[in-house]
């Protein structure tokens, strides 16, 4: 698994796409941060957390809805085209280790991008902000939430033979999960509403951003990760049929 992880990460880090995405990410989040800090002067009696950080983390999560399909669209498509996926599948690594190695490589890239965004809470720290519990909880939420996007992207890449189509499928699926929130809000049935709300990753993410870590959110994210890894495994295994 480590061999796969190392190779994937090295290839990603030597690609200009990763650095372009980093630049886009930090440019947009920087602008949002600046705007929120300026706007926070208008609100009296509310904290920096609710005025600046919660909207900023929400924006980061939304931004990754677009960035993650771009990062993951090539996960399996290029390997299938070059025949290297069959080489990996014939090796002693095993399919689960291939999937986990690639997943960890994507997560490492995303963590690298998130580390860049740490400068915003640090800037606030110089102005006296000290609620680091919420910041850590929000970053944990971001990693878990973006993990679901990564796995959706990897799954789309495993079922598609073209990276553009893979990116499109990935974005459509992420958007579909987001729509569950709208469906939950518009449902008249309480149980159905609760169920749809539970299935939507954004509602779980909001708990983390508010520093309110719930065990059922962990169960949700871990189940989501496990389920999509299984889907990817089945999809890749079907190549042997």
């Amino acid at each position: 698994m480590f061999n796969i992880y190392k190779r994937e990460l090295k290839e990603a880090m030597s690609s200009p796409l990763f650095y372009i995405l980093c630049a886009i990410f930090i440019g947009i989040t920087g602008w949002i941060f600046y705007y929120r800090v300026l706007a926070s002067k208008e609100f009296v009696g509310s904290s920096l957390t609710s005025n600046v950080l919660i909207p900023l983390f929400g924006m980061i999560s939304s931004l990754f809805m677009f960035l993650t399909p771009l990062l993951t669209m090539n996960s399996f498509v290029e390997e299938k085209r070059c025949g290297t996926l069959d080489l990996l599948m014939r090796s002693k690594v095993g399919l689960w280790n291939i999937i986990i190695g690639k997943y960890l490589s994507h997560i490492t890239q995303i963590i690298f991008m998130l580390i860049l965004s740490l400068m915003f809470p640090m800037i606030l720290m110089f102005s006296g902000y000290s609620d680091w519990g919420i910041v850590l909880s929000a970053y944990l939420g971001l990693i878990l939430n973006i993990s679901t996007y990564v796995l959706i992207g990897m799954f789309a890449s495993s079922i598609s033979g073209n990276q553009i189509i893979s990116g499109f499928i990935s974005f459509s699926m992420i958007f579909g999960v987001l729509l569950l929130n709208l469906a939950a809000n518009s449902s008249n049935n309480f149980i159905v509403g609760q169920l749809l709300s539970y299935l939507n990753n954004n509602s779980h993410f909001l708990h983390f951003v508010q520093g309110d870590i719930r065990s059922f959110s962990f169960v949700y994210f871990i189940s989501f990760i496990g389920l999509f890894m299984m889907f990817i495994n089945k999809s890749l295994n079907s190549r042997r049929w």
């Binding site: 190779r7 290839e11 070059c82 025949g83 290297t84 069959d86 599948m89 014939r90 042997r240 049929w241």
Partner: protein
């Protein structure tokens, strides 16, 4: 009895409604170079992928008599174009947990001088060599090569053939091709496949002997054979004549030796036969004959 490296028994493979392999059976002897011949779409690649476990079979059995992994070079070599040759081979070595010496493989495949270069920047011939090196780096006893010389220039083809021959001493090699000249020169055994069915399999001499019914004569006359005499001769001896000025290329369809009778026929009609020789049917002609017969 000769030890077998691979035994394929009554293997069927279908993709939805398409039958790719229809109950094929053949054996590959240990230490041999076994040519797998057939036109495009015959089922060669599917068979190789099933042997290497890249594809599952619908029914039948495959026996691979080796504890070590199979070295496989598919039609498109599985290469990471953004990796350096040495780094790529090291990666393959690690994922197959092989203990083989990398520098030995580099020199065996003649890629010592390009080991520090990006694979994507190499010529097709060198990329094919790296492909063969990735098959060897897994420390295999059996090597399967799917059309290893396709798309290469004549110089590179010659080099790859020499490389395959040099591997014979330590490995069993199964390789597919539709270049029959290649198979005649390299192989000890052949299997001919068409439309997912095995047409013939065995030692190359046995396959030739079994399939050659009839002979080809090359006759040179003093004058051109007339249309009337040509037709008469074809009807009388049940043969096929191709005329090229004063030369005749005669293909007999039975096992009877017709040389004397045809010679007499020509002399009776005042032709002087200046030479008469038998042309040995090569694998190409046998292949064409067998595949066209079965297609009909």
């Amino acid at each position: 009895m000769e030890e077998k490296a691979i035994r394929v028994e009554n293997v069927h493979k279908s993709y939805s409604s398409t039958v790719a392999l229809d109950g094929i059976s053949f054996e590959v002897s240990k230490g041999s170079i076994h040519g797998f011949l057939g036109p495009n779409g015959a089922g060669k690649s599917t068979t190789m992928k099933i042997i290497t476990n890249e594809l599952t079979l619908c029914s039948g059995e495959i026996f691979v008599n080796s504890e070590r992994p199979i070295g496989f070079l598919p039609e498109i070599p599985p290469l990471y174009k953004h990796m350096v040759v040495e780094e790529f081979l090291l990666f393959v070595k690690n994922i197959f947990e092989s203990q083989v010496d990398l520098s030995g493989i580099l020199s065996k495949c003649g890629i010592d001088n390009v080991k520090g270069r990006l694979i994507g920047n190499l010529s097709k011939g060198y990329q094919q060599r790296v492909g063969i090196a990735q098959a060897l780096i897994v420390d295999p006893e059996i090597i399967i090569l799917d059309e290893p010389t396709v798309g290469l220039d004549p110089h590179a083809i010659k080099e790859i053939r020499e490389l395959i021959l040099s591997l014979k001493n330590d490995h069993t090699i199964l390789f597919s091709t539709h270049q029959l000249y290649e198979a005649s020169n390299l192989c000890d055994e052949v299997t001919i496949i068409n439309n997912g069915k095995i047409l013939k399999t065995g030692k190359i001499e046995d396959v030739k002997r079994d399939l050659v019914t009839g002979e080809i004569f090359l006759i040179e006359l003093d004058t051109k054979l007339s249309d009337k005499d040509c037709k008469e001769c074809e009807q009388e001896f049940n043969i096929e004549i191709i005329r090229n000025e004063k030369e005749l290329r005669i293909t007999s369809k039975g096992n009877e030796d017709l040389r004397g009778k045809i010679n007499r026929f020509l002399l009776d009609r005042d032709y002087i036969v200046s030479s008469l020789k038998i042309e040995e049917m090569d694998l190409e002609q046998i292949f064409e004959q067998v595949t066209s017969e079965k297609n009909v």
